[in-house]
Symmetry: C2
């Protein structure tokens, strides 16, 4: 870090003191703001109001089989047709599940641990240690599954193009206990990065010491653009096939942030062989998913094109919130070299990096003034951010007014913590 | 077996030959009847038609929190209140889940294998072999879970009061690897037996060598009476508490055979400590169940009393079918001492026992004439009926007309196979 001149120091000291005063003002407001999770706002949920009443008896009568009854473990054909284009797979390469893609991920990992992955069928646990590569910062719930199931996590640095592939390739080529990698490949959680074509190709084609190494491709934000400026993600299943590793990837998605988080539908896509293997294992576990909720979604959307139009309505609510956050960050912290942030084209998060060693303290300060943020460190395996610098901002839930207050307060906290550090150096 | 007199033999031979002719007549009809599974009929599903449109936007607005969004891992309070009386537990002793109670059973067993049961927290798999007691005949999907997960099954004979408790007590007292027992305690699958109070008490109070032994109490037919002649089942959770083993039982149920098999809701009841432990483990797996489908059920039923009234409609459709089956069995096989059957007060099945060594052949004969039955042996662990005598009859799905044909054909097949055996002895 460049040494501050006396003049610079004086300037920063004034800002720091002002921030201390502002912090007290905010504290006096007794705010109660929560930005911990990437939850859609009530206004966003209202977009899908008609889904609630989209289904009637006549719709059910017009179906080829009785979706009210047992069966169809992999979901109804109409839902496969609706969502296959979203994941760029064929209808034979997709399973439509319950309301939670996280549950499908957990399930696949459990099955791999106990029964092995389809085609290999050697339980991961039979080989002792199981390790996962965890591009970080990443999604805390992915990491929580690993931690809960005793899977050792190896953090991988994120670049602007995706995970640091040199490290990923080196590790997977040499360690047979590395069985998987977590990826949020589009508008990544929390950085909003979309993997480059090269990263996708390298993941698809790299040599892995473990024959049963699998990519867990959580494409949670496939159609979640903030505007017409969209990121493109290379088709990973196609890339895997072309690289001669057709069974390497499990792709997950859901309508949680398309329709309702609490009543959407989730899906899993993979090679036909993987899908058939998973279906066989699932048949022990359940007799089928909620087919009426699948049909409800089919009747509501009718076509993939309508899903894309529907997402524009979400964007029209989300874009002003993301703009507001980025504008305030720029205004308040833009020239100070104490914080840097992502400017994503989609997804649900803005990733804020402070000076090293400051994130925990910033989050604590915010909490004390009534603003709950995602725990600092939560975006890293075991909750440990090695540089203690990453803060995840989730702008979707609060109103614009609340969000303005929250981000202004956050900026004040960043100034208090980071400027103090900078001035002391 | 009493030796047949020459006169008896002659009489049976006439019946046998007539049955052979009748069988050919049926075969010529090219029937295609399926009675393999306990599926509700379309007429039964029509009872719940209004459930499909039971929910509207105003219902959602009137709730204390936004059920469209993430959260509430254990279900909505209104659904707990609605279903707690059905399982005779408090609202703190119940979790409302997705659409499949089988999935909840599978999940609890997976968690026990990998993480241990709440309160003990020692993974079942860490102790090597895991065994389950399997009262048989029983539910094939229970046995399939065990077989799939490598859990060794020990068949336990069923008496008219429930499992043979002398054997159950002896085994659990002496073998630490016995971790569970499967029970369908009311209108059991397939025999329609309801466990006696004594059996419930002995299960609740017996000494178990394994501290983490658990009862898997699949109360699938809690309110599924065929008429006002109802069986009573003792409250097992209460019995466990009184016996000083409050955490011994996991109770499962669903609305699969109350509303829609493909779009119902499932539930798990247990001690508060167990529920809290399970909730903690579930929080890694999912962010919550489909709360709108829970609310839909709440709005549709409104009260537990209405569920009971609703079940009378099912009974009015099912009772004539059960009566028809039992009447034809009596008429055709009543005096021949070649077959015996259950006469349940509820549930979904009639259990037919033939002479030893005949069940497989009867099912095969039926299949060849166009009637698909549950595989003979399916009601026993590993699909092996040691006496090859049990056939599960599922009368719910076919129409009365089809059912009449199916059971007449079944009786002909029983005569052909069993009389042949009897005459040859």
């Amino acid at each position: 870090m460049i040494k501050l001149t006396a003049k610079d120091k004086e300037k920063l000291e004034i800002i720091y003191k002002k921030a201390l005063d502002q912090y007290d003002d905010y504290k006096a407001l007794n705010l109660k703001l929560n930005m911990a999770r990437g939850k859609p706002s009530p206004e966003q949920l209202d977009i899908s109001t008609d889904l609630i009443t989209a289904l009637n008896k006549a719709d059910i009568d017009s179906c080829s089989s009785d979706y009210r009854n047992y069966g169809m473990i992999d979901g109804i054909p109409e839902a496969k047709e609706l969502f296959a284009p979203m994941l760029e797979v064929s209808t034979k390469e997709i399973i439509i599940g319950g309301n939670s893609s996280l549950n499908m991920m957990y399930d696949i990992i459990i099955k791999a641990l106990i029964k092995g992955v389809p085609g290999v069928n050697i339980p991961w646990i039979s080989s002792g240690k199981v390790k996962f590569l965890c591009p970080s910062p990443g999604y805390d719930r992915h990491f929580a599954i690993c931690e809960n199931l005793g899977i050792e996590m190896i953090p991988i640095e994120m670049t602007q193009f995706g995970p640091d592939m040199d490290t990923v390739e080196r590790l997977t080529a040499n360690d047979e206990s590395i069985k998987g990698i977590w990826c949020v490949p589009k508008y990544s959680n929390p950085e909003g990065i979309t993997y480059s074509d090269e990263v996708v190709d390298r993941l698809a084609s790299m040599k892995t010491k473990a024959e049963d190494f699998r990519i867990f491709w959580d494409n949670a934000y496939a159609v979640h653009h903030l505007s017409d400026k969209k990121d493109d993600l290379k088709n990973v299943l196609k890339a895997c096939k072309e690289a001669g590793n057709p069974d390497r990837v499990f792709i997950f998605a859901s309508t949680s942030k398309i329709t309702f988080p609490g009543a959407g539908i989730a899906m899993l896509a993979s090679s036909e062989d993987n899908i058939n293997g998973i279906k066989k294992l699932m048949s022990v576990q359940t007799i089928g998913p909620d087919k009426l909720n699948e049909l409800r979604h089919v009747k509501y959307f009718n076509s993939y094109e309508n899903i894309l139009l529907h997402m524009k309505k979400h964007a029209s609510i989300l874009k002003p919130k993301f703009d507001l956050v980025i504008n305030i960050l720029q205004e308040q912290l833009g020239d100070m070299e104490i914080a840097w942030w992502s400017k994503p084209n989609g997804g649900y998060f803005i990733s804020l990096n402070t000076l090293d060693g400051c994130a925990k303290e910033v989050v604590k300060k915010a909490e004390e003034a009534g603003l709950t943020l995602t725990n600092a460190g939560a975006t890293f395996p075991y909750g440990k951010d090695p540089k203690d610098k990453n803060i995840r901002i989730a702008p979707s839930y609060p109103s614009l007014n609340e969000l303005k207050k929250a981000i202004e307060l956050l900026c004040i906290c960043v100034k208090i913590v980071c400027l103090k550090k900078k001035l002391e150096e």
